[in-house]
Structure formats: structure tokens, C-alpha cells
């Protein structure tokens, strides 16, 4: 199994961007590229060649699920595992996000100390399958 290193993160809120970057880079040791909107992600994500895409669900303009489906139209991002982040996590919602092609859902508020580990667990699980 390849080691998870490169994460693309789509999130509109600067505060959350910063804390997640801290959690992923400093605690997790990942390389993270941030995109502040769906459009930014569509324009620039392919060049970063991410191993995993992390998306906030509720964003103004293009929301997480629509961003993901547009990203999937790009050849190089078609099969990259994706994880959603959202403040409302009920069982049927998780199921819904999974049908949209997400490998996992991370609940907000997340714990900055354990976020990296959560992503690693999802990554491992999705490579076992």
C-alpha cells in the first residue's frame, strides 16, 4: 500500500483551513494544498496530483458534492479517494455521501489532534477493499 502523503483540501472558511492545515501538516506530516472554493479546486487540483481529496460539504456557490462530481470529470482525479467533512452527520446522510463516491465522512467539529489519524484510517480501509 502506498503511504498517504498528498492531500488536496477544499474549504471556504479561513479559520478552518488554518487549523486543518496545522492538524494535517504538523500533526500528520502530510503535504496539503488548500483550495478556497470549488472553482479553485477545479482549476488547480489536477496539477497537485493528490492522493486524497478532502472536501467541506457546505460551501457557498458550488458545494462539496457538486465540486466532487465536477472533479470526477477530470481524467486524473477520477479515481482519487474523497472524504467529506460536515457538521451534520446522521447515519442516512453518511450513506448519502457515500453514494456520491466518498470513502468516508468526517464530522465537524473535528479534533485537530486526531484528524490526521482519522484520514489515515479511512485511507487504509479503502486500500484493503
Amino acid at each position: 500500500m502506498t503511504v498517504l502523503q498528498r492531500i488536496a483540501y477544499v474549504e471556504d472558511e479561513p479559520d478552518i483551513q488554518e487549523v486543518a492545515r496545522l492538524a494535517l501538516e504538523l500533526v500528520g506530516g502530510f503535504t496539503v494544498t488548500l483550495f478556497s472554493s470549488g472553482q479553485e479546486a477545479l482549476d488547480g487540483m489536477a496539477a497537485f496530483r493528490p492522493q486524497l481529496i478532502l472536501l467541506d460539504v457546505m460551501m457557498p456557490g458550488m458545494d462539496g458534492p457538486s465540486t466532487l462530481s465536477r472533479l470526477r470529470e477530470q481524467e486524473s482525479l477520477r479515481d482519487v479517494p474523497a472524504v467529506f467533512m460536515t457538521a451534520k452527520v446522521q447515519t442516512h446522510e453518511v450513506a448519502h455521501y457515500k453514494t456520491l463516491g466518498a470513502m468516508g465522512v468526517i464530522a465537524k467539529p473535528f479534533d485537530p489532534m486526531t484528524l490526521a489519524q482519522e484520514l489515515r484510517t479511512i485511507w487504509e480501509r479503502c486500500h484493503e477493499q
Binding site: 472558511e13 479559520d15 487549523v19 467539529p109
Partner: protein, 555 residues
């Protein structure tokens, strides 16, 4: 991370937290301004949408930056504002509760910067002047017929029963005028045996057309009277001086059985004609039956119909019965619902396979009508008994601690959806230890039971009543505002203290203290419960035997 990195992380985190807090102050201010503009803005829906978005951000963000409480409060409010928005979308007349919303948003505070100062709680002066009693918020109260030649004794008993929510009627003779009996059939008859000595049991029995349950009352416990009562089919025999709570206990057991709601059945069959046939058969046995022909709609129907048993066809288009059973069993809530397969399947192996995948029983078509009704009834009655044993307190028949708290959660989410108000009540018997110490624990248990019966009688079926602890009770009144709830509970308080309890040849009464809290925007189930509990303490501190209302956080 090594220790250096950890220190760096902590420092960075602290900087981020500071920055977040500063921006949060501005965000909260903006939300407040939005809410304040609500009454003057024709585009209320747009404002609500912005509020939802802002609250959503805080719900997700605050917890990350070390303010989980604020995050939780924002989340609750987000859900509630969504409810308001949805109601406005459905009905043009619906106006948002702007004032309440504004104060709920104002109560979102940044804990570390503005620590919450515990507020001095004062009792609501309005509580001292209770509004007139509501007509009746309860079930139609059951009538009991007291048949006693001694009018005074009958009135006395009637008065005590009234405290428990029964409507007494009186007759002095067993041979009444016709018009007297043409009234509503009584739920039970209390018959004084005096004057009926020597009368045959069957003769007494034949006097009551509808054969209502009979309870015998007598001055003596003479064997021949007991025998006559037994032959007349009496369900209880009580000697004077009467222990009213004991009689009520007996009445409750009789009436509750007769008031039990019909069994709720959901039939899933893509053969509409057959489903209709089963429906008619089961309805004829007094059950409430719903049908569904599309397997994919069953999960939805489960949550709306809330059936106690599922009958389903084994072979259905697109999704087989066992497959559907598997889907249903995956939902935690429906793990326990009995599932009966209806099928033309005669192959024993296929039947066993079907049962292995989550079914409880197999009925082969063609189905004998009586057999179907009996099987369904047996399964539901067993399931009811089981869930009652698990959910209900054995002494009082009320919900157990954990269940009543669940009931509150359920009612809260309903109230968030439809915007109705909800009251939570904590009720505690005063000086109950004294009752136990003076009269013994069995008498104490009788008092607890009497209060349980009183609550069950006086409250609506839609209200949830639970035994919260030893002598502490919790009640959830959905769709009930503070005035109505206060009036109702005060009535119950007065009822309780006028019930005479008998023990060791003496008579005594008990009182209770009550704390109430009413839902409003931004308040969680847990907070509501705490507020009611606090109000109960206040009622105790102010001298017991009274109601205290928690201050409304939104006013």
C-alpha cells in the same frame, strides 16, 4: 510529533484560537443584526437562510477551537431555525418568532471571553396567580358508577376518586329508573354489598347490561358476601374504611386493559388485492392496519406508521421479503419488530431460509383468517409485553429513567420541526423518607403508585410520564404552553394532597413539589431538563407543596 513539535502545535493552535475568537465576535454581531432586521425585512426567508448558514459555520467551527458548548448551542439553533424556514416555505401565513430568535442568538456567547455569570433565579410572580383551570387536557375521564344505599358514604368515595381523575356517578338502588342507566356506560361499577346479602351473584351481574367490571365494597369481610361478589364476577373486594389508592390501583388495572390502543400492523405486499383482503381480516379483529405495495417505501412507512408488526410477502417484484427484512433489521430502531412472512411457499427449506434472514414466523397462503388474526395478535401482544418490561418501571407502569429521557429527545425534535411548544416537569414527593419511616416501605410504594395513577389519569395519552428516580417523576407535555402546563400541574398538586392514605389505622396525606421548564429557541433537551430540575429545587427551597417555573432564557 516530538515535544518540540508539540509545543509548536500548541502555540500555533492558541494563535488560531485567538484569531477565531476575534472573528467570532464579529460573526455573532452580524447574526444578531440579521435577526434584529427580521421583523422589518420582507425577505424573511433570505435572512433565515443567512442565519442558518452562519449558525452552521459556528456549529462546525467552535468545537474545533475549544468551544464545544457554543458549537452545540449553535447546532441546536441551526436545526430550529431550519424548522422555522421549512414551516414558512409551507405556509405563507407563518411569521418567524423574531424576538425569540434574537434573544436565542444573543445567548450565544464566547465562553472564555465572556464567562456566563450565573443568574439570580427568581420565582415567576405570575405563578402565584394561576389562570383558571383548563377544561380538561386529558383523555375523556372514565366514569365510575358508585352504587350505595348510603348516599354520604358514596359521595365521600366519589370525591376521593375525583382526585384521581375519575368522574363518579351515584345510584342508591340496584333497581334504577330506566333513564338513569341510559347515560354513558361506566368504565367500572363500585357496588356496596350492604342490602345485597342473600342476593345471588348472577342476579347482580344480570342487572348490568353492558357487563362493566365490578368492584365490591363492604363493611364486613363476611364469607358469604365475598362469595356473592366473586359469583357476580367482581374483580376486587374492599372493606371499609376504604383505602382509596388501593381501589384506584384496582380500577387502573381494569381500565388500562380496556383502553389499550389497537395493534398497529403494516402489510407489505405487491399484490394489492391480497393486501386489502388481509387488511380487512385484521381490522375486523380490531387492529389498525396499513398497507404498502412498494418495498422501497417501507422504511419511510415504518417511521410514519410506527407499526408493531410487519406482515410481508416473500416474493415481491424487485426486492424479496427476506431481503427487505435484512434492510429493516439494519436499522437499529427496527431490530426488534416482529416480521411475519406471508407466502405460498410450501418448501420447508425456503421457509427456513426466510426465517434465518430476520423473519419471525411464516404463514402459508391460502391463509385461514382466524389463524392469521390469532398469530398476529399473539406476536404483537408478546412484543408489547416485552417492550413494556424493558421500558417500564415495574411498580408504577411508567417509563423508566432512560426511556423518559429518550421520550424528551423525541418530543424535542418534533417540536423543533413543527414549532410547537413543549414543557418538561420534574415532580418530587415531599418528605417521602418520612412516609417510609413512619408507615413502612409498602405504604410508601402505595403512595408512589397512587401518584403514578393520578398522573396517568390527568395527563393526555400523548404526554410522556416517567419515574425518574425513587420518588421523583418526570413528565413531558408536548404541544403545551407554560400557562396551560402550570394550571394542569397545579391541579394535580391539589389532587394529590387531598387523597387520604390509610395505614396502621390512621389516615395521612402527602404533598409534592414541582419544577417546570418550557422549550424555547436555542435550548437543548438536556438544558431544559436541567432547568426543570433547578426549578424543582427552588420549589423545595421555598417551602415545598408548590410549583416553580424555570425562568425563560429567551425572554
Amino acid at each position: 510529533m516530538n515535544s518540540e513539535e508539540q509545543a509548536l502545535f500548541a502555540r500555533e493552535m492558541e494563535t488560531l484560537r485567538q484569531g477565531y475568537r476575534e472573528r467570532l465576535v464579529i460573526q455573532l454581531k452580524e447574526l444578531e443584526e440579521l435577526a434584529a432586521s427580521l421583523p422589518f425585512n420582507p425577505k424573511a426567508l433570505v435572512i433565515l437562510e443567512q442565519l442558518i448558514h452562519g449558525l452552521h459555520k459556528i456549529a462546525g467551527g467552535a468545537g474545533i477551537f475549544g468551544m464545544p458548548e457554543l458549537g452545540k448551542k449553535a447546532k441546536i439553533l441551526e436545526i430550529q431555525v431550519k424548522g422555522i424556514r421549512d414551516r414558512m416555505l409551507h405556509s405563507a401565513q407563518c411569521t418567524p418568532p423574531a424576538g425569540e430568535l434574537l434573544s436565542a442568538i444573543r445567548s450565544l456567547t464566547i465562553q472564555d471571553i465572556h464567562p456566563i455569570i450565573p443568574q439570580e433565579e427568581t420565582s415567576d410572580p405570575a405563578m402565584n396567580n394561576l389562570p383558571p383551570l383548563p377544561a380538561s387536557a386529558s383523555n375523556p375521564d372514565p366514569h365510575v358508577l358508585i352504587l350505595d344505599a348510603n348516599a354520604r358514604a358514596a359521595k365521600e368515595l366519589g370525591l376521593s376518586l375525583r382526585n384521581f381523575g375519575y368522574i363518579p356517578r351515584y345510584m342508591q338502588s340496584l333497581f334504577p329508573e330506566r333513564e338513569e342507566t341510559s347515560e354513558k356506560e361506566p368504565a367500572a361499577v363500585l357496588l356496596a354489598m350492604e342490602g345485597n346479602e342473600g342476593r345471588d351473584g348472577e342476579e347482580i351481574r344480570s342487572l348490568f347490561q353492558g357487563r362493566p367490571p365490578l368492584i365490591a365494597i363492604s363493611d364486613s369481610s363476611d364469607f358469604s358476601l365475598r362469595l356473592a361478589a366473586a359469583r357476580a364476577g367482581a374483580r376486587g373486594f374492599f372493606t371499609r374504611p376504604l383505602d382509596v389508592p388501593k381501589i384506584v390501583d384496582c380500577l387502573e388495572q381494569i381500565i388500562r386493559k380496556e383502553e389499550a390502543s389497537p395493534y398497529r400492523v403494516l402489510i407489505v405486499d405487491d399484490d394489492l388485492l391480497l393486501a386489502e383482503h388481509f387488511r380487512l381480516v385484521l381490522e375486523a379483529s380490531g387492529m389498525e392496519v396499513h398497507t404498502e405495495s412498494q418495498p422501497e417505501k417501507v422504511l419511510d412507512r415504518l417511521s410514519t406508521v410506527r407499526p408493531e408488526i410487519l406482515l410481508m410477502d416473500v416474493h415481491m417484484e424487485g426486492c424479496s421479503g427476506p431481503e427487505l427484512a435484512n434492510i429493516i433489521r439494519m436499522e437499529e430502531e427496527w431490530v426488534g419488530i416482529p416480521i411475519l412472512y406471508l407466502s405460498g411457499e410450501k418448501d420447508m427449506n425456503a421457509q427456513i431460509r426466510a426465517l434465518e434472514s430476520g423473519g419471525d414466523d411464516f404463514i402459508t397462503k391460502p391463509v385461514d383468517n382466524a389463524y392469521l388474526a390469532a398469530t398476529v395478535s399473539a406476536h404483537v401482544s408478546r412484543a408489547r409485553r416485552l417492550s413494556e418490561l424493558m421500558a417500564k418501571d415495574s411498580l408504577t407502569g411508567l417509563l423508566k429513567h432512560i426511556r423518559i429521557k429518550e421520550a424528551l429527545e423525541v418530543e424535542m425534535s418534533r417540536s423543533n420541526r413543527d414549532g410547537s411548544s413543549l414543557c418538561v416537569i420534574m415532580l418530587d414527593l415531599d418528605h417521602f423518607k418520612r412516609v417510609n419511616d413512619t408507615w413502612g416501605h409498602s405504604v410508601g410504594d402505595r403512595v408512589i403508585k397512587a401518584l403514578a395513577h393520578l398522573l396517568t389519569r390527568r395527563l393526555r395519552r400523548s404526554d410522556s410520564i416517567g419515574r425518574y428516580g425513587g420518588e421523583e417523576f418526570m413528565v413531558v407535555l408536548p404541544g403545551c404552553g407554560p400557562e396551560k402546563a402550570a394550571a394542569l400541574m397545579d391541579e394535580i398538586r391539589l389532587n394529590l394532597k387531598s387523597i387520604p392514605f390509610q395505614a396502621k389505622g390512621e389516615s395521612f396525606t402527602v404533598t409534592c413539589s414541582i419544577g417546570m421548564a418550557c422549550s424555547c429557541l436555542g435550548v437543548s433537551a438536556e438544558e431544559l431538563l436541567q432547568a426543570a430540575d433547578k426549578a424543582l429545587y427552588q420549589a423545595k427551597a421555598e417551602g415545598r407543596d408548590r410549583i416553580c417555573m424555570a425562568p425563560m432564557p429567551c425572554t
